[in-house]
Amino acid sequence: MKGLSHILRRLACMLLLTLSTAALGQTRDFDYRLSPQQIADGVYVLIGKTEDFSLDNGGDIVNTGFIIGREGVIVIDTGSSKRYGEQMRAAIARLTPLPIVLVINTHHHPDHFLGNQAFAVDTLAALADTRRAIEAEGAGFLDNMYRLNGDWMRDTEVAIPRRTLTAGPLEAGGRKLELVALGGHTVADLAVLDTTTGTLFAADLVFNKRAPTTPHAEIKRWLQSLDQLQALRFSRLVPGHGEVTTGSDAIEQTRQYLQWLDQTLRDGAEQGLDMTEMLALTVPDKFAGLAEVRTEFRRSVTHLYPAAEQAALQRGR
């Protein structure tokens, strides 16, 4: 029944979209125009827009990447849709004839794994908690992504990674990687360090000039993860969203925002503010340069304020 209602809802969504597109006389070619940028020897990134999901961007709002080793290619995150995954695979094939040997999902958010279908199932890999979370929440994400991105999502289904990754060194495609298992943005967040070039794929633990998203966040653990990332030796960092950077500026920016957010939520709860009053607060000017910050702050209040409220009510006993 659940499966059927998903399909019906998706069909209704697509019908609506088709009608409205026809009414506006628009046509879309559903081409993300992915153009891999080489940032180090054999290391490529696809930088997404620092926007929210939309019918215009089709979910191209996330950074993905790949590393071409001596014997094979390692893919890091697969984007928001089957189309994205397919177009990413085609972009890789234009650069190298080598096979794709490993496809990593850094965490269980839909913009990082819904392109999985485009890749061979036995190459799909993630941390154990990420695999479980995709299994548990994937279908719910999928419905929402059809609603947000419309026909860009056509035929996208959840493909759960079969391989379990663990922290530590890993050799794939003739390339040495260091897997750093962290968390806090979600239940499990995997950072990937390409030891040959010192390129750190920091996943969504780091946002660059884009407000962090928090639907599954545990801020304390996230802040600890940022400390661990900063202690790593890297020459450049690929954030989950926003431009590639060479220093730790994006880590620091993410840390400052999260610390402010956490303090604001705790202060509000401790002062007895209602959630509607929290939603009306303004974000300080120092964070005005973060894309989507006002929207993300309001979302974060919805996600995180209930726990702060409960803690404050318990202290009142």
Partner: protein
């Protein structure tokens, strides 16, 4: 929404400008909801109803979580309010709650479940029998009413059912803010196989028995409901606040909140 309101205003002006047309409806809905006439019939029958800017409903334009849509009712300078109804035109269970302010201010904040995008409205009945209505549109992807509560899936709530957490805060004006949370699944009965189960009465009184507020929640109030209310200066003194209520299965709720 502003566009719709502007269009509605323009339409009204046009009607005024054309004397041969029928007189404008004095009760045309500022939220332009096709359900308004049904709402009026359902809740107000022959009573006088006015749209009143003093009745303010604060809620996010887009709800991030359909299971927890924060709503605050602020009646501003409206005096002599005896009863307030809160409802959402497009919810499968339209009425969210009602409350009767006693010596507390007539404002109340809480969270509700929304099944789809809908106006969320407050209607305040004053002593003259007139209903004053205000509201706002909330957009949501929905599903909030037909999803099972998380409580039904966990054993914890059965041990903690109707447990009250509460705290009082002194306000700058000398009054008191009270926040009050009760452990309860608040099941709507619309999720398959899970019968309706919700708190239906909550009386909040002073230690010497004066009524601060009576809250009558319906099914759409969120799981583990949290209410925020304000009490004016010189009502409470040093006494405790007493909470007494029950759910539709007769399970009692009792708590005392010391200063």
């Amino acid at each position: 929404m502003r566009i719709i309101r502007t269009l509605a205003n323009a339409a009204t002006l046009l009607l005024f400008a054309l004397p041969l047309q029928a007189a404008p409806q004095p009760d045309s809905d500022p939220l332009a909801s096709p359900r308004w006439v049904d709402m009026q019939r359902m809740f107000f029958r022959d009573a006088e109803v006015v749209f009143d800017d003093r009745v303010r409903v604060s809620a996010p334009t887009t709800a991030e979580d359909a299971l927890n849509v924060p709503v605050a009712i602020d009646l501003g300078s409206l005096q002599g309010v005896e009863e307030v109804l809160v409802f959402a035109d497009f919810n499968p269970i339209v009425k969210a709650l009602s409350y009767e302010p006693g010596q507390a201010r007539a404002n109340l904040a809480f969270r509700l479940k929304l099944q789809q995008s809908s106006p969320v409205r407050a209607a305040a009945r004053t002593a003259d029998g007139r209903w004053h209505v205000g509201g706002t549109w909330v957009n949501t992807t929905g599903g909030g009413c037909t999803l099972p509560s998380t409580g039904t899936g966990s054993p914890e709530w059965q041990q903690r059912l109707n447990e009250v957490s509460a705290r009082r805060w002194p306000r700058i004006d000398g009054g008191t803010r009270l926040r009050l949370q009760i452990i309860h699944p608040m099941d709507t009965g619309l999720a398959a196989g899970i019968p309706v189960f919700h708190i239906d009465t909550l009386d909040i009184d002073t230690a010497d028995g004066r009524r601060l507020m009576r809250i009558l929640p319906s099914e759409p109030v969120s799981e583990n409901p949290l209410f925020t209310l304000d009490i004016p200066p010189d009502v409470l003194g040093q006494g405790a606040i007493r909470v007494a209520g029950r759910d539709n299965n007769g399970n009692p709720i009792r708590a005392e909140i010391a200063p």
